[in-house]
């Protein structure tokens, strides 16, 4: 099995690190993983994205044409990546700031009100974990325990105290994700 995922949003939203945690989680499950970011000069509010591939076989190309899963966190990214989700694939987006929602009917679309939830939790840092929770709910790519292991691995020691908060955020994300059907 191979799952090709794009995560895209504004720089600063934690797009790259969400991808990193996903990749680390895959690593904990002995999967093959690849993580390829859009990179550049400081993103300065521009868009950022990362392609994460989890696979049981060696991964040939870290760059792909189409995605099994697209996680979309702002309007420009939605426009850019919605067309590249594989038929029957998954698109998850946070409706905050989205003025024209997705329209495809040949894919599964979900919303996660992660920004609002994080604001309510008064913890914007949890935002990307909430999104990740949503993904794991609908596509249990990796076990939660392995996500936590991955997180532990990817965070410097001094941040390990934040682990419980992150776990809560993931669980919260699993709760709030909702299916969306374009009109």
């Amino acid at each position: 099995m191979i799952t090709e995922i794009i995560i895209a949003g504004f720089g600063g939203q934690g797009v790259l690190s969400m991808g990193k945690i996903l990749a680390y989680s895959g690593l904990m499950e002995d999967k093959e993983v690849s993580w390829f970011p859009s990179y550049g000069p400081e993103q300065r509010g521009g868009t950022a994205n990362v392609t994460v591939i989890l696979s049981d076989e060696p991964i040939s190309s870290p760059i792909v044409n189409e995605y099994d899963v697209a996680i979309i966190l702002n309007q420009p990214s939605l426009e850019k990546f919605e067309p590249h989700v594989k038929k029957g694939g998954i698109l998850i987006y946070d409706p905050n700031g989205i003025v024209s929602p997705p329209i495809r009917k040949d894919i599964h679309i979900y919303t996660t009100a992660a920004i609002d939830t994080a604001t309510q939790m008064n913890n914007m840092k949890a935002f990307n974990m909430i999104v990740l929770g949503g993904l794991l709910k609908i596509l249990p790519l990796v076990k939660l325990e392995n996500v936590m292991k991955g997180l532990k691995k990817s965070l410097p020691e001094r941040h390990h105290k934040l682990l419980p908060m992150n776990e809560q955020a993931i669980l919260k994300g699993m709760e709030i994700i909702e299916e969306y059907h374009p009109a």
Binding site: V33, W35, F36, S60, S61, P62, N65
Partner: protein
């Protein structure tokens, strides 16, 4: 040690830094430039001067960096630098000096799109610069083209070892894809740095201070007497011929029954691998040759297929550079075409398959 066999998830750039420390690298000298600044940043973060004693210095420019490499290499130390295309161009006088003074060292070019300031996106347009002659004069760089993060790590030791074996600079020629992507990687075990005494033995030419019992060691690329300079050059050429005999790394995949071959290196080989899978799934028998050393170039292995396949497609992120070497390899025996994307665009597997069909009616 089990800790050392631990699997890491690292960027290609980071893998180079960790591998360098573990190799017992003595010094890194560099200047920031995207997409490779993580190499120096990782080293600065690891602070190996506190552990192995490795020196890490941010130089004032690439010109300074490469000349620091020259100074360190002249002492027989295992030293390196890294940069990306425009920065590497600034190093070329120094690279020619390194070759002319026969100094072992490791250079890394994480290529980005040119010409000029260009773009920071991945490219392979410095192939000619690296394997034909960026700097002036007849010289060669042992050139390694990793196509995975694991190879980024592995080629550090390989590059240094070859460099020291032949007293010649080695270059890891890679690009923004491999430099920036994260993959699993097994890092090599830690080796301690060589002592000065070991260097004196292994590199009797090194300038470590002249003891009473030997002549002065002189690191120079100068020889105003043209006859002697020719002798130097003949010695270099003989060495290059020896390296060509000894060293030639490549990877063949699905070539035995292939009607068409992709030839691609580095990140493009990864993408061609996927394109090969797609083509095979459509019934087109495609194989892939991935040169791992770009110099010495695997002319012979490519030529060995020249009367067995119907066509060869080189895929490069440039306007057609390695394709010349493939043509030189087959010397007219089979049609060789080039497919490339430019200026930072990474071709997708699908478009490569399409290109194959278009060029060869496959």
């Amino acid at each position: 040690m089990s800790e050392e066999k631990e699997i890491y998830l690292l960027k290609g750039n980071e893998a180079i830094s960790h591998a360098a420390i573990r190799y017992g690298c003595d010094g890194y000298f560099g200047y920031p430039i995207t997409p490779q600044s993580e190499i120096m940043e990782t080293l600065m973060d690891e602070a190996p001067w506190e552990t192995t004693g490795m020196v890490v210095l941010q130089a004032e420019s690439e010109t300074a960096s490469i000349n620091m490499v020259y100074g360190g290499a002249g002492c027989g130390k295992a030293v390196m630098t890294s940069s990306s295309s425009p920065g590497v161009s600034l190093m070329l006088e120094g690279v020619s000096y390194l070759a002319g003074a026969e100094l072992p060292c490791l250079l890394v070019n994480v290529m980005r799109g040119g010409p000029g300031l260009g773009t920071i996106q991945p490219s392979q347009a410095d192939y000619f610069q690296t394997v034909k002659g960026g700097g002036h004069g007849d010289y060669r760089l042992i050139t390694l083209a990793p196509s995975s993060v694991q190879e980024m790590a592995d080629h550090v030791a390989l590059g240094f070892d070859l460099a020291f074996k032949y007293r010649n600079p080695a270059m890891i020629l890679t690009d923004g894809v491999i430099g920036q992507m994260m993959e699993k990687v097994v890092l090599p075990p830690f080796k301690r740095r060589r002592t000065d005494e070991e260097i004196r033995q292994q590199c009797p030419w090194a300038t470590l201070g002249k003891p009473a019992d030997r002549k002065p060691n002189i690191i120079t690329s100068l020889e105003l007497d043209a006859h002697k300079m020719e002798e130097n050059n003949l010695r270099f050429q003989a060495k290059y011929a020896q390296i060509e005999k000894d060293v030639c790394l490549y990877e063949e995949t699905n070539c035995e029954d292939a009607d068409y071959l992709f030839v691609a290196f580095g990140s493009m080989a990864r993408i061609c691998h996927k394109a090969m899978e797609i083509a095979r799934s459509e019934g087109i028998k495609v194989g892939l040759i991935r040169p791992i050393t770009l110099w010495p170039y695997p002319y012979k292995v490519i030529d060995s297929y020249s009367s067995r396949v119907k066509g060869i497609l080189t895929v490069e992120m440039n306007a057609g550079q390695m394709v010349e070497d493939v043509r030189l390899a087959v010397n007219g025996k089979v049609k060789v075409e080039h497919y490339g994307r430019l200026g930072g665009i990474v071709p997708t597997p699908n478009e490569i398959v399409t290109a194959l069909k278009a060029k060869f009616g496959a």
